[in-house]
Symmetry: C2
Subunit: 201 residues, 2 copies
């Protein structure tokens, strides 16, 4: 198998919103304003931010990512969850059943989500052509070794295949910081290494 | 070799101070007040906290750890460094040459450290007897596999041997959060695994 090299993309805490929630937070008829494009085609960071209010604390200036989605979702690093006092599970984006809610405050109003807070599971986006070339399919899990002083291996990295996905390895800020990684660094994906997996149990 | 199991101890950002800096921050003649003992014998968390002021931001309520040391030292997670706007290296405790400084604010005064800010290198404390039993010596590096959804391997974990050290695997909050670890969880230390080390290069 050819070497699969993936660029690292570190996601800070952020929020996806429904059209209804955008209007509730920023005013009737409001539409998201693009600040810059993200690595995934069609996805963009917005000028709009919200304040998250949890049972123990709040975080201001949390970026909205567009475009609008069918369900609102808040993606946090575990470090953020202690400050806010919420206990979200590690989940794939969009898999929100049974997740905790949180309160969002915008410039024109508030939204109390009943669910939607997650710690995003680390994952690699790729096109069907890339997946086929490397013998991978949507839902597979791979390991990614990281070189350097704070190196090691990231296990249980999900493969997410979609026709509009650009090749990208998405981590949260805790993971990026723990491994000393920067955006754009390229890492090699490896097949499962049964030897150490046995040790892990 | 017998299995070496080590309990995890996750360190939040904290500060060690000289006696002179304690008095400068909290008043002439001030001595640190113990809040609770830490896992390493003789070490304790103090009631005293400081505010750290960096070029880009500040962090309040940062815990002092006692007893007083010969040189003041600030240990941060990488997540904290972005908020403060400082760029400390990953270092062993006490190895402070060439590290950045920061300003500390206490109840009675301020201290501007010219150096002393580090991201602590992950390490395992153990006694000489434990080290001998497992064929390890001070300065060795080992790998620690972590099970679970956010599992993987932590590489380059330093072994630190001292007559008064209790067995403990010290990580910072970024590392603990990235791997989904909690204080007191026991992990198995393994010998270097050359197979994956070759892949890392």
């Amino acid at each position: 198998m050819a070497k699969l090299m993936v660029p690292v993309g570190i996601s800070s805490r952020h929020v996806h919103l429904t059209t209804a929630h955008i209007e509730q937070l920023f005013g009737p008829g409001h539409r998201l304003t693009k600040l810059k494009d993200l690595s995934q085609p069609g996805q963009f960071a917005c000028e709009e931010t919200v304040t998250l209010i949890g049972p123990k604390g709040s975080l201001s200036g949390v970026r909205i990512l567009g475009p609008a989605r069918k369900e609102s979702q808040v993606e946090l690093a575990a470090t953020d969850t202690f400050k806010l006092g919420v206990k979200p599970p590690v989940r794939d984006s969009g898999n929100l059943a049974g997740t905790p809610g949180i309160e969002l405050v915008g410039t024109s109003g508030r939204v109390r989500l009943v669910q939607g807070v997650i710690i995003a599971a680390r994952h690699i986006h790729m096109s069907p052509m890339e997946a086929a070339a490397y013998g991978l399919k949507d839902g597979d899990r791979v390991e990614v070794p990281v070189p350097g002083e704070r190196g090691g291996i990231l296990d249980n990295v999900r493969i997410r295949v979609g026709p509009h996905y650009a090749l990208d390895f998405h981590l949260d800020t805790d993971e990026g910081n723990a491994f000393g990684l920067k955006n754009g660094v390229r890492l090699e994906v490896t097949a499962a290494r049964k030897e150490w997996r046995r040790a892990v149990g």
